[in-house]
């Protein structure tokens, strides 16, 4: 079957043999957008996070067919070096990451938070990011970066 996906402002049609195939595999294997990553396949870690209609979703447990026709944004589509999203700028300023395998979850979830709550409290930031995993221990730096992004907005 065919599915039309609107990713980073561009509509593309993919041919799949299983409508339940998670969006993650459509993005990576069919569209060649490699940067949302497989971390758990269970929706527990966030490494595969993208925005669907502005909401941060875990693409490893979202069927590709369910995202058909909706606006999908990946980390690479959120901002560019020339036009960075404030969260991306803050991530650079704070030099947050080590390996960055987890980065999609953190930046995309923080961007969603600030879109709906531009001036969150520290507790609100922590709670918003509490379902994400990072194994390099960048949590404290990520917290600083989200505060910085909120201030700059």
């Amino acid at each position: 079957m065919q599915i039309e996906l609107h990713v980073n402002g561009k509509a593309q049609v993919i041919e799949v043999d299983d409508p339940d195939m998670p969006l993650l595999y459509a993005l990576r294997d069919d569209l060649g957008l490699s940067n949302p990553r497989f971390g758990c396949g269970l929706g527990q870690c966030g490494a595969c996070t993208v925005h669907v209609d502005g909401r941060a979703v875990r693409s490893c447990v979202t069927p590709a067919a369910a995202a058909a026709g909706r606006q999908i944004t990946t980390l690479a589509g959120l901002g560019t070096p020339e036009h960075p999203h404030p969260v991306q700028s803050a991530w650079i300023e704070e030099q947050v990451n080590q390996c960055a395998y987890c980065i999609n979850g953190w930046i995309m979830t923080a961007a969603e938070l600030l879109a709906h709550n531009p001036q969150p409290t520290e507790t609100e930031i922590k709670l918003a990011l509490d379902s994400l995993i990072c194994r390099c221990g960048t949590h404290a730096a990520a917290l600083r970066a989200v505060k910085r992004a909120a201030q700059s907005a």
Partner: protein, 780 residues
């Protein structure tokens, strides 16, 4: 002591790390053709390329001499545009090593930082410097490149002397241009001298490879007063590509015609496939079963179909009864298990006499759990095996060893296997990256097509090599005056080397075991560095047999800071016990028995920065509902000296511990990049908190039952330490030591000691889960 305040650093000196890596060719075409992602190339070329040479260079060799340790070109080359390429036979596991290496090379060869690119971990282009190991990326590999860069500068000046008709001692170098000291216009650039060609000079190499590789260079290195690049906080070069989603990791690599594979693991450890029902996956398009001896996998043209087939495949497994002790019975098992090897690693005085003279003897035991690497991403690798040669793409820390392992598995000569390291999920020790590389190679050889293998989440937790559990036994003999006169510390554990951390042998990877090779364990554990000066001391260890002789989900190898947390949790908690038993303040106690000035400074400076008031533990008022306490732990590891103080709040009703503050005084000798150093220390303290507070591999008699992030809990955002103060002790006169893992080993003891200070209750078992803490409080 020179404390560096990041707020006072001149931002104009900081490299504009926001320069974005954009590869000149189509990314995938570039990867497919060159097989390597040189992440620093474009960053330096595109934004800060040196001026093109006015004339083509003619010195040196037109082609690169053989990649051997005695050739200068194996370490340093100069591109046609004057960019310096440094060939680093280690890797950057995500802690910014590539940036620090570029700084060291730029300093010695006298070019701007931006004009150095670093090529890492490609067995076809870089010498075997051991890959990542023991946090010695700067102290060993970095120093090799620093010395060869100094030699290269010397040779370039000698060559320029001939070209300019001036004596070498009247020449100097500014930003890659050799010029007369007296007349800057009489000059010739590195690009004009040798750009695009290769040094044909020899290096005095010690003939060794891996971590032992060393070079002897008589040209003096720059001294700290001459530093322009070392010591500055250049920004991480790899981060922009990561933040903007443009940097490809090994799991993003694609090869034309490749198949996706998933491994099939048994539900009971030790079971092997005896019957496969291939019809169970017949409806899933483009799938195929690969069954070689006991190694079982499915492959598919589409990745998702490989995942589905791995779930759907019906396998009949052999009967296996591993009779594991279970994680709850593990420490009883360790205590009762026969000793394979007992080794007294350090002894001074006469411990038996010391204990005989003692007025009283204090004993304390501490238990540390099995822990998983639990890497953020399950391991992934690609292999393209042809009839007479093979290439693997891997994020293992040990690409050279992985190549040797793959060569053995495939029956190819070692030199016919090229391992290309790429960025991947963070790797802090011998995780599953070596196993997946071997799996990919075996499958590609069998299928005669390129193969990409990615493990699933349960494999990343249940099947990675584990950090060993241990029981730490401590004894102290105290004389009538309260002086500690005898100390004994014996750690009993599985060997930390069931499988070699170097993964160079087929017997060290799961694929090797499944193809018939038994475990070939070495016997090793460790002791705490004997910094304390007790009259009589004995430090040693005992290892016990592995739980299974091959393909064990509980096989042990190096997990980050391979023996620090288990050993120091015991020894540094016990020092606190002894301090309390002798009515001494824990800081004062340590200072009394530490004599080395750098040891003492680490403890003293941490205490001063914290605002430590002198008193014994536990504190008064510990009956409060929320009890507050502070604890210190100290270690020397190689030539790194660390004092760590933790401040905690203990909720008596629930047993929950909150981390209010860390103060870490950190002496690593010469500091190459202060911001990166702070970065590395802060993040490892957070990671170490996860290990101390949350992490334990659970298993029953059959199999590991920690298979996802619910059954292997780790630290999340709401548990992050609230304040982390890092005090860098800069010693420019001292050689740089390591920093990537040394502080984390202190975390369990620092927290445990703080809980004792808060509550008077001693924690003897990691992780400090609320249930366990609550039970300990109730028993007190």
């Amino acid at each position: 002591m020179n404390k560096i305040d990041m707020n006072k650093i001149d931002m104009s000196q900081i490299d504009m790390g926001s320069k974005i890596e954009t590869l000149p060719l189509d990314r995938r075409a570039f990867l497919a053709s060159s097989g390597a992602l040189v992440i620093t190339l474009a960053a330096s070329m595109e934004f800060a390329a040196p001026a093109k040479p006015a004339q083509a260079a003619t010195n040196g060799a037109a082609t690169r001499p053989p990649l051997t340790g005695d050739q200068l070109s194996s370490y340093i080359t100069i591109d046609a545009d004057g960019t310096v390429a440094a060939y680093y036979g280690k890797i950057d596991g995500g802690q910014g090593l590539g940036t620090s290496i570029a700084q060291m090379v730029a300093e010695e060869i006298d070019v701007p930082f931006e004009h150095v690119r670093v090529v890492m971990g490609d067995s076809g282009r870089t010498l075997d410097m051991g890959g990542a190991s023991a946090a010695i990326g700067v102290s060993h590999g970095g120093m090799v490149l620093r010395r060869t860069a100094a030699l290269a500068r010397h040779i370039l000046i000698e060559t320029a002397a001939g070209a300019l008709g001036l004596p070498a001692d009247q020449l100097t170098v500014t930003d890659g241009v050799v010029h007369a000291v007296a007349d800057g216009k009489r000059s010739i650039s590195y690009a004009e001298l040798i750009g695009g060609r290769y040094f044909d000079s020899k290096v005095d190499w010690n003939g060794k490879t891996s971590n032992a590789l060393a070079v002897n260079v008589k040209v003096p290195l720059k001294t700290p007063d001459q530093f322009k690049v070392i010591g500055k906080s250049f920004r991480r070069r790899d981060l922009p590509g990561k933040v903007f989603g443009t940097l490809d990791m090994v799991n993003d690599m694609r090869l034309p015609g490749m198949l996706h594979a998933r491994m099939i693991r048994p539900g009971i450890a030790g079971a092997v496939p005896v019957k496969i029902d291939e019809s169970s996956i017949a409806q899933i398009p483009g799938t195929q079963v690969v069954w070689i001896k006991d190694l079982l996998a499915v492959v598919a043209e589409r990745e998702w179909n490989a995942v589905k087939a791995a779930r759907a495949l019906k396998v009949t497994w052999s009967d296996s009864q591993p009779n594991f002790p279970g994680n709850e019975g593990l420490h009883a098992h360790i205590r009762n298990a026969p000793v394979v090897k007992r080794f007294i690693q350090r002894e001074n005085g006469s411990v038996e006499d010391g204990f005989k003279q003692a007025a009283r003897i204090l004993e304390g035991e501490y238990e540390y759990p099995t822990q998983s690497h639990a890497s953020m991403g399950p391991a992934c690798a690609l292999a393209d095996v042809r009839a007479d040669a093979a290439t693997v793409w891997t994020s293992t820390q040990k690409p050279y060893d992985a190549a040797a392992c793959v060569a053995e598995l495939l029956g190819l000569p070692r030199e016919k296997v090229r391992a290309i390291w790429m960025f991947g999920t963070g790797s802090y020790g011998r995780n599953d990256a070596g196993d997946v590389t071997a799996d990919a190679a075996v499958l590609s050889q069998h299928l005669r097509r390129p193969v990409r293998v990615q493990y699933m989440r349960h494999e990343g937790l249940a099947w990675d090599p584990k950090g060993t559990a241990s029981v730490s036994r401590n004894r102290a003999g105290i004389d009538a005056n309260g002086k500690v006169i005898a100390y004994e510390n014996i750690g009993k554990a599985f060997s930390r080397l069931d499988i070699s951390t170097r993964e160079a042998r087929a017997a060290d990877v799961l694929a090797g075991h499944l193809l018939g090779l038994p475990l070939r364990p070495e016997q090793s554990f460790e002791i705490p560095v004997a910094s304390y000066t007790f009259d009589h001391g004995r430090l040693g260890w005992e290892t016990i047999p592995p739980l299974m002789d091959r393909a064990s989900p509980l096989r042990t190898s190096h997990l980050r800071d391979p023996y620090g947390p288990p050993i120091l949790f015991g020894s540094e908690s016990f020092m606190d016990e002894v301090a309390a038993a002798t009515n001494m303040d824990p800081v004062e106690f340590r200072l009394q028995y530490l004599k080395n000035p750098r040891d003492r400074d680490a403890v003293r400076i941490a205490a001063e920065h914290y605002g430590w008031d002198k008193r014994t533990s536990p504190r008064k008022g510990r009956g409060d509902d929320i009890a507050i306490g502070r604890g210190i732990a100290f270690r020397r590891h190689f030539d790194t000296f660390i004092g760590l103080i933790a401040e905690v709040r203990v909720h008596r009703a629930t047993g929950k511990i909150e981390l209010a503050r860390y103060v870490c005084a950190h002496d690593v000798g010469l500091i190459v990049n202060p911001e990166t150093l702070r970065h590395v220390i802060e993040r490892q303290l957070v990671y170490g908190t996860s290990r101390a507070m949350f992490e334990e591999v659970r298993f029953d008699q059959d199999m590991v039952t920690s298979v996802d992030w619910l059954t292997y809990p780790v630290l999340h955002m709401t548990a992050v330490p609230e304040k982390i103060d890092i005090v860098l002790i800069d010693r420019p006169e001292a050689a740089p030591s390591g920093a990537a893992e040394m502080a984390l080993g202190l975390v369990p003891a620092a927290i445990g000691n703080a809980v004792f200070d808060a509550t008077g209750v001693r924690l003897r078992r990691v992780p400090f889960t609320p249930e366990r803490v609550k039970t300990a409080l109730e028993r007190a």
